[in-house]
């Protein structure tokens, strides 16, 4: 999740839903995850106190276990990966980088900051997600977008390139995907299933 803080107050709190860690994410999260929002806000307020943040932006991670417990993972003072800022712009229409500049600037007025950020979830025009493609085969020769993806109404565009070499190196870390595929649609659970389903498809054959 990401929080934009101005004058010690949370001005926008995004909760990203990772369908499969390292593979797919979408914003805003499904209602199932969004029901944790009040608890997360409490936790972030603790971080604001602990680190004594007046103005700025943090990117903390929490893990939710099956028994309903929330565990703190880490907190970073930087924008998140997996193009979450771009997804936010697609879902809400504001530029999250501009949001950071505003939040970091103590001279930003109360009117400016409230006018800039939309209301979480309610103001979203839909859900924006992306899927990181990693070839499933050991040897590939060409990029071929699966027909069902290409024809899906949620599919928007992709950043995949034709393979430069045929042999696929072993996946070494998160973020070493071959490119992202972007989706946008109205239904969070359809989005979640769709992103999950991409893991079973071959983008490189």
């Amino acid at each position: 999740m990401e929080a934009w803080i101005h004058d010690r107050k949370i001005r926008f709190l995004n909760i990203s839903e990772y369908v499969t860690l390292g593979y797919s994410v979408f914003v805003p999260a499904s209602p199932e995850l969004e029901k944790w929002r009040p608890r997360i806000e409490e936790e972030i307020e603790k971080l604001i106190e602990t680190f004594d943040i007046d103005f700025g932006f943090i990117h903390p991670e929490y893990f939710v276990t099956k028994d309903g417990k929330m565990y703190f993972g880490e907190v970073a003072y930087r924008p998140p990966g997996f193009k979450v800022f771009e997804l936010l712009e697609r879902a809400y229409g504001f530029n999250a980088y501009q949001g950071m500049v505003l939040a970091f600037d103590p001279h930003t007025t109360e009117e400016e900051i409230t006018a800039f950020f939309p209301e979480e979830v309610v103001d979203a025009k839909g859900h924006a997600g992306c899927f990181g493609v990693y070839p499933r085969r050991r040897v590939v020769s060409e990029l071929r977008i699966p027909e069902e993806t290409e024809q899906h109404e949620y599919f928007e565009f992709h950043e995949l390139q034709a393979p430069q070499e045929n042999k696929v190196t072993k996946r070494s870390a998160f973020g070493t995907h071959w490119g992202l595929v972007y989706f946008f649609g109205a239904e969070p659970y359809r989005m979640r299933d769709l992103l999950k389903h991409q893991e079973e498809l071959d983008f490189y054959v």
Partner: protein, 668 residues
């Protein structure tokens, strides 16, 4: 999420899907519009990807057409070669359609749709008029005729982007619907006449275009307007230039007709072929069949008529008739018919009167080609005839048309320029080189006293053997390239431009031993540019050099610029003549090894290939315009005395043209 209604069904119907894609495009274009210039490249790929998807939907091209002006304003072309539409070259589009990657293809399609918006008047763009746009589109269509008129994709396209091939074809048909057939065929006909006006040796692509026109005209009722006459002449020259061949019966039938003709009818045939050949510059397959028939049936007295010879040519033929008949028998077949034009010009040039040429050609007639030479020529020209036939026919063409050589896709212009220069000025030496390489797979030259044998030099694996040039270039260029590179290596550490030493030794004794260069090699900046230009005027301008003509062809280097006058690269040419044209303007006539010499170098400098006193194959520019693009020339230090100084305003004029183009960032 209450305001968003849930959608049903896993896959939308195509119309709905196009709607969905358009709404995504709306978002992506909005983001591009909001981005500052520096950030636009990051926002562009998704726009292009959505454009691609939209085009692939039924009716998608019509939809995208409406987006074109907004996409252009949003900056989708920013920082690309498509940014300024008035500089686009229609001739390059076909290649992009065939070989471009996904993104390049989409940009190309968008560029076409933008041009259509401008042409139709629905989009006004500064610096690109509706007329310009219309002209550009009709040229693009002319260059893509095979796609416009047939559904089949070429192999290159099929391999590359099967699904995009359909989009490109749909796009071209969409454009034709708006531009009209008449303009395309008319344009193409003009283009072919312009190229043929340069009398190229390689005419394969021209024949292919004429064939396209012939098929189109035969298959449909297309109005051609005034261009009809020109198109008909091209088609008849290729497929039926004479009364008897007019019906294009096929060669066996044609020969049967010849057997039944009287002398008058045969003479009419002969003159018909000659007229078509000299008028158009193309030779029909029937012409070759006719010449062979004349030889076989002892009607050689008609050969001068069939070649359309003047007194000079006739003299050559009569002095060397046995050799010429042998050349026809050995080298002239329907597959090599174009060499008939070369043969006629060879006779007209009188080169047979140079003592070594006769024996040199006899040597080549009996030349036993090496395995490598055989393989190289067969790979490029096929197995229909033995490689030695193609090579002999090619040699005839090169000797007859020294300025008809083109470099094909070969990146080294120097080697082709050298072949052309030797054919022009030292044809016996060229025959010697062909014999060396053809038989011994090697070429021996000397550089500063040391011998260089191409057979001992490493083959440059980064360079493919040229297969789209003429047989002589095909054989010699790989060896010439190696020697040229080796000479370059030998003077790599001298800190000056290597052409100073290479040009005289590589080409021949007649290349001026003085060397003039406009730029400092280390910095690339202009160096004593005034002195450079003054010397050029003093050496080459008849009004500044005591009315001295250019005696031998001289190698020179140009800074070639594109149609926006931006620097493209250094290029080798040969200065052939400096003379007044019919309107009294002093022009430099030169040879450019590029395949099509009619080029636009920007700021109004357009290389002319006809109508300004050019001989076939020559390019020309007014003296000052050529001087403004020159960066290397040779002179003779013993005879060049800059006594007749160039006028100060002429010098300023040249400098201004250079400073506003390639030399803009080289001023010191």
């Amino acid at each position: 999420m209450s305001e968003v209604s849930p959608e049903t069904g896993p896959v939308a119907s195509s119309g709905e899907l196009a709607d969905v894609i358009e709404s995504s495009l709306e978002q992506a274009v909005g983001r591009l519009e909001r981005s500052r210039d520096f950030a636009k490249p990051a926002a562009t790929p998704q726009v292009l990807e959505l454009c691609r998807r939209l085009m692939m939907q039924p009716g998608g091209i019509e939809r995208l057409y409406l987006w074109a002006p907004r996409l252009d304003r949003a900056g989708v072309f920013l920082g690309t070669d498509w940014q300024d539409p008035k500089t686009l070259l229609a001739g390059l589009v076909a290649n992009t359609f065939e070989l471009g990657d996904r993104q390049t293809l989409v940009i190309e399609c968008l560029s076409q749709l933008r041009a259509l918006s401008v042409a139709s008047g629905s989009y006004v763009r500064a610096g690109f008029s509706a007329e310009q746009a219309h002209h550009f589109l009709s040229q693009v269509l002319a260059h893509n005729l095979s796609k416009v008129f047939s559904a089949g994709a070429s192999e290159a396209e099929r391999q590359n982007q099967p699904e995009m091939t359909r989009v490109v074809n749909d796009l071209l048909h969409f454009l034709v619907g708006h531009v009209g057939y008449e303009d395309i065929l008319g344009n193409l006909t003009d283009e072919i006449w312009r190229i043929l006006g340069q009398r190229p040796i390689q005419v394969g692509h021209v024949k292919a275009m004429i064939t396209q026109i012939a098929i189109t005209l035969a298959g449909g009722d297309y109005s051609l307007g005034d261009a009809r006459l020109g198109a008909d002449r091209l088609i008849s020259a290729l497929f039926g230039p004479t009364k008897t061949s007019l019906d294009d019966l096929g060669i066996p039938h044609y020969r049967a007709y010849l057997a039944a003709m009287d002398f008058n009818a045969l003479q009419q045939e002969a003159r018909g072929f000659a007229r078509a050949m000299h008028d158009v510059g193309l030779v029909s397959d029937y012409h070759a069949a006719f010449l062979r028939w004349l030889l076989e049936n002892e009607r050689v007295e008609l050969i001068p008529d069939a070649l359309g010879l003047s007194n000079t040519g006739l003299d050559s033929l009569q002095c060397y008739s046995k050799l010429v008949y042998q050349l026809i028998e050995e080298a002239i077949y329907p597959e090599t018919a174009q060499a008939i034009y070369g043969l006629a010009m060879l006779l007209e040039r009188g080169v047979l009167f140079i003592p070594p040429i006769g024996p040199g050609l006899w040597r080549q007639i009996s030349l036993d080609l090496s395995e490598n030479a055989n393989a190289a020529i067969s790979a490029a020209f096929g197995q229909a005839l033995p490689a030695r036939v193609f090579l002999l026919a090619g040699t005839i063409s090169v000797l007859g048309q020294p300025l008809g050589l083109g470099q094909g896709n070969n990146p080294t212009c120097q080697s082709v320029r050298a072949i052309s220069m030797w054919s022009f000025n030292a044809p016996d030496y060229l025959l010697h080189l062909i014999d060396q390489v053809g038989h011994f797979d090697g070429m021996l030259m000397h550089f500063e006293g040391a011998s260089i044998n191409s057979a001992e030099l490493p083959v440059d694996l980064t360079r493919a053997v040229p297969i789209d040039s003429d047989p002589v270039s095909n054989l010699l260029v790989p060896h010439l390239d190696r020697i040229y590179l080796q000479m370059g290596r030998l003077c790599a550490d001298r800190g000056e431009d290597p052409h100073r030493w290479i040009n005289p030794e590589f080409h021949g004794w007649w290349v001026g031993r003085g060397f003039n260069i406009a730029v400092d090699v280390a910095t690339g900046k202009l160096h004593d540019y005034d002195g450079f230009l003054r010397n050029f005027f003093a050496c080459y301008h008849p009004l500044n050099n005591g009315n001295q003509l250019v005696i031998h062809p001289q190698p020179a280097g140009l800074a070639v610029t594109d149609s926006s006058a931006r620097f493209v690269g250094w290029h080798a040419i040969t200065i052939l003549r400096v003379a007044l044209d019919q309107s009294g303007e002093m022009r430099v006539y030169f040879y450019n090894p590029n395949n099509d010499s009619g080029q636009n170098w920007g700021n109004g400098i357009k290389v002319s290939t006809q109508d300004n006193g050019e001989r076939y194959g020559e390019s020309s520019l007014p003296f000052n315009e050529l001087a403004s693009r020159l960066y290397i020339f040779h002179d003779d230090p013993l005879t060049s005395n800059a006594v007749w100084g160039v006028a100060e305003d002429e010098l300023q004029n040249v400098k201004e043209m250079a400073f506003s183009s390639w030399a803009a960032d080289r001023i010191t």
